[in-house]
Amino acid sequence: MNIQTIKQAFYKSIPVLAGYVVLGIGFGILMRNAGYGVLWAASMSVFIYAGSMQYVGVGLLAGGASVLTTAITTIMVNARHLFYSISMVDTYKNAGKYKPYMIFALTDETYSLLCDGNVPAGVEPKLYRVLVSLFNHCYWIIGSIIGNLVGAVLSFSTAGIEFSMTALFVASFTEQWITTKDHVPAITGLISTLLCLVVFGRENFLIPAMLLITLVLTFLRRRKEDTV
């Protein structure tokens, strides 16, 4: 164990702390309102660990959905994770014994922290990545527990605090924009997604957007190789 690695991993994970605790609290409250206590909320956060899926999952549990409906819904909501994993195949290649946990814990937010493949100077890369994943996971679990136990008595208005997740992605996007020269992938992401949002509507555009992004980037690679 090296202290520097732990410190750097914690520092990297702080932006997710606020967002995960808040969204976790939101999930905990939803579970409470649906009649599920703290053990239910916590075990979903430990074993599923996929934010939007857990929000959807509250409805599935409360409505007594079938196994098939639950499985299909999970595939629909979480299919985007295929693309996160594809883009981390190389980065996580030599993670050794940490690898299974890191793959399990690859959420949108953890992905956005680790996807550039860079680690701070002087840290042990494998340990650094697994700790960032683990810290985020802990924030999420703690949030769910707090929300489930004390959510109802929170006295100040937290309306709008969910924007912290949007802010996290906007900040990662800005940072990547500043640090990379080639802005074509970023622009491809924005335009393809906007296009799919218009064509498919706000409920169903995520998967088409991912496919379109992959398609466009694949086409651009071909063209680049032709010209080089």
Partner: protein, 103 residues
């Protein structure tokens, strides 16, 4: 259906989705996949930004103005300070003030 069975289903399906690409490309990463690994991250982050803003309706009050102001602040502060903690905090506080007190 019993709740714990549904939770297990959600958990297992999510795990399978996250592991699938690693299992398929276990031995050797094809060049194409390495290429995707390089170019997908900025594209996907861009997609997630739009995903977070998808519920804005421009034709209905408050026309997405709080989101626009707060997101612009995040971009500005991030470009200026290069510290995501500060930019996320600034944007979130501004957004909360806007939706609670202004709009």
């Amino acid at each position: 259906m019993k709740s714990y069975i549904l939770i297990a289903v959600m958990s297992i399906v999510t795990i399978l989705i996250r592991f699938l690409p690693f299992l398929v490309f276990r031995k050797q990463t094809p060049k194409y996949v390495s290429y995707l690994g390089r170019v997908l991250p900025p594209a996907i982050i861009g997609m997630l930004v739009i995903y977070c803003l998808k519920d804005i309706t421009i034709s209905v009050q408050p026309f997405g103005i709080p989101e626009l102001i707060a997101a612009s602040c995040v971009v500005g502060v991030q470009a200026w300070k290069r510290n995501s903690l500060i930019s996320i905090l600034t944007g979130t506080v501004i957004y909360m003030v806007l939706v609670q007190l202004v709009f």
